[in-house]
């Protein structure tokens, strides 16, 4: 995808919008608490896209709800910090501000939410009020956050926002049920961009949509990002979509980040067996038909945590120590990519499939070398 981040200086690279450190979230209290997010460290850089991939129950949505303090009981943030750095247009002297989201009060949060951080949810039908016209949603939002705008100005802004996502202004008088799924999701995106936020969080925005509509929305997001330069956290279970869209990808499994890498490297040279398994789980659209093997077993039950690595019971390369010790997320090489896997502790234990050389080129070049799949047999 086109990104607006081609010529960055070192300063800008270190410029993070959101810094998440040692973040832990539990569901429930005391003995029965279930750890849904476990010691997650992530940062979102300015004007960049962080992709978060994982299956249901991996903690990816819980993480962003907790970070934005939207998590409801029985979800408990049990540790860690999250800091948001943003440019404050209203401040007179210091323009850049950092807010500790975990310590922020209700009014501080209200000032940040939507104007600095906005969120697009998976199901637009549930996120839009079914008994309010679309125009009302825009009006209410602008009334709350931009008190100086008059009614006509609010209407003009709503029309302008709809134009951004390719919708006609007559949609303002419609109810959510009168719109198609793609149109509803576009409205959600227009609402999220209404106050020109620094960070937009997308929680599976295209999962419920058809592939053609998904493609249109993804292309539109790329254009909007090139134009406005907001950062994005994009959550999905579709790794191939993320490779196209994101600059960096964090793969989550059972509440842990198991691998972090630039998108192209992650696709061409995965380092964690789970990432490899995920990449092998989507049948390709070209080439010979081979029997593919997904990942054996079932996604983990968080209420019965495994000892050691949470992936060890499904891992094809499992070592003896994997069931004993929890692997830390460690930097693997000079590119700064990280993986939490004991296989990389000793160069001799790294299987061929996890040893491929990352291509220095843009995301998506087909990688030569070792086979990606574990077993390749003709179907017939």
């Amino acid at each position: 995808m086109d990104s607006a981040t081609t010529n960055l200086t070192v300063d800008e690279l270190n410029d993070t919008v959101l810094e998440i450190e040692d973040f832990c979230v539990d569901y429930g209290w005391g003995e029965t608490a279930v750890r849904a997010v476990n010691n997650v460290n992530l940062s979102v850089r300015r004007s960049r896209v962080l992709g978060v991939a994982g299956e249901s129950g991996s903690g990816k949505s819980t993480l962003v709800y907790a970070v934005t303090r939207l998590l409801r009981s029985p979800g408990v943030i049990s540790g860690g910090s999250a800091r948001l750095t943003y440019d404050d247009p209203t401040a007179s002297d210091v323009k850049r501000r950092t807010v500790d989201l975990m310590a922020a009060s209700g009014s501080e949060l209200r000032a940040i939410r939507w104007s600095q951080v906005s969120i697009v949810l998976q199901s637009a039908l549930n996120a839009l009020n079914p008994v309010l016209r679309i125009g009302h949603e825009f009006d209410e939002l602008l009334k709350t956050h931009r008190k100086d705008l008059k009614k006509e100005q609010r209407h003009a802004r709503a029309v302008e926002l709809l134009g951004l996502v390719g919708l006609n202004e007559d949609r303002l008088s419609r109810f959510p049920h009168e719109l198609s799924g793609g149109q509803r999701q576009r409205i959600m995106i227009a609402l999220a961009l209404a106050l020109d936020p620094q960070l937009v969080i997308m929680d599976e925005p295209t999962t419920a949509l058809d592939v053609v509509t998904q493609r249109e929305i993804v292309n539109e997001l790329a254009q909007l990002r090139a134009r406005f330069g907001f950062s994005m956290i994009f959550i999905t279970h579709d790794l191939s979509l993320l490779v196209e869209l994101a600059d960096d990808i964090a793969v989550m499994y059972s509440g842990n980040v198991v691998e972090w890498a630039p998108a192209g490297d992650l696709y061409s040279a995965p380092r964690h067996p789970y990432t490899l398994g995920l990449l092998n789980s989507s049948p390709p659209l070209s080439g010979e038909r081979h029997e593919l093997v997904g990942i054996a077993g079932a996604p983990p039950d968080l209420s019965q945590p495994l000892s050691g690595c949470s992936f060890h019971n499904r891992c094809p390369f499992v070592l003896e120590r994997c069931s004993r010790d929890v692997p830390p997320l460690r930097i693997l090489d000079s590119s700064g990519r990280k993986a939490a896997c004991w296989l990389h502790d000793d160069p001799t234990t790294v299987p061929v499939a996890l040893r491929r050389v990352a291509l220095a080129t843009s995301p998506g070049e087909p990688a030569p070398g070792a086979p990606m799949t574990l077993a390749r047999e003709e179907i017939r």
């Binding site: 592939v211 053609v212 493609r215 249109e216 789980s281 049948p283 659209l285 079932a298």
Partner: protein, 345 residues
Amino acid sequence: MSDVRHEARLEARHLSRHFVVRSGHGFVRPKRIVRAVDDVSLALRERRVTAVVGESGSGKSVLARMLARIVTPTSGELVLDGTTIELGSPRDLAYASEVQLVLQDPFASINPVHRIANSLARPLAIHGIPKAELGDRMRAALSRVSLEPPERYLDRYPHELSGGQLQRVSIARALCVNPKVLLADEPISMLDVSVRLGVLNLLRGLCDDEQLAVLYITHDIASARYIADETIVMYAGNVVERSEGTALIDSPAHPYTQLLISSVPDPSDPLRRAPEIEDRAGQGIFPDVGCRFAPRCPHAMEVCRTSAPPMFEVAAGHEARCWLHESAVKVSVTRREQGGNISTT
């Protein structure tokens, strides 16, 4: 594809389903007819997976429900093992024991307050299996879907199983009456990415080992390419393209199929771009005259807006419903009533 002759188990001939809707407000609300499925013919053959690909609203689920006789077709006929089914007649047990349907969401299609054993025993009891045999039949059904050992699953409740396991139970429940035709309506779309392949491989295996005829309905064209012996693309109730094997995915002939394929994210091909869609506002509008894809088609011609295209043969065993292919071939082909054979006129 192979030399083995594949016996047609279930055939649909010119199957249509129209719904009457009333739109607008007020006293007089004009009637409008929605052609959810319009003149669709297909044959499900033993040991073959027929994949139907389409987006939501293309009529693929209505088609599956008509084949299962849950929805009554407006017109057309169903032929099961050479016997034409009386459409007005209620669905009887004999039909249900031959044709079984697996639904998309296993969490919604299995009763959450009953144990798995209960969900499996119910269809068996309805189909008159003696009580003494129930246990064996249930265990056999679970083994067929690789839930081993079966005893471990019989006493569980649905919430104790993962989505992938539950979808296998759902398939086992369909299989326990030994049907010849299995209709799978988006069986993997609700499942986690890592377990989808397992269910697809299971369907492929059942089809090969047990002489099942499988209809695999999906919106994920890559998964259709993975298991299909015949592929059908539906748009707005019409079959717009069909081919033996996956020819239509490897070399799509219809503009809609081309759009569908180029929209799939494929990081291995970064230069590929989705074609521009002529008129996005045309989405959701299906004209009654002419080609139903015309409002969105980048190649739409005058003829497309005035008359509906028939199927044209693009290559051997590969046809597309598009006027663009009219000049490319000398003969126009129509699907005849006999056995879905293609004859030239």
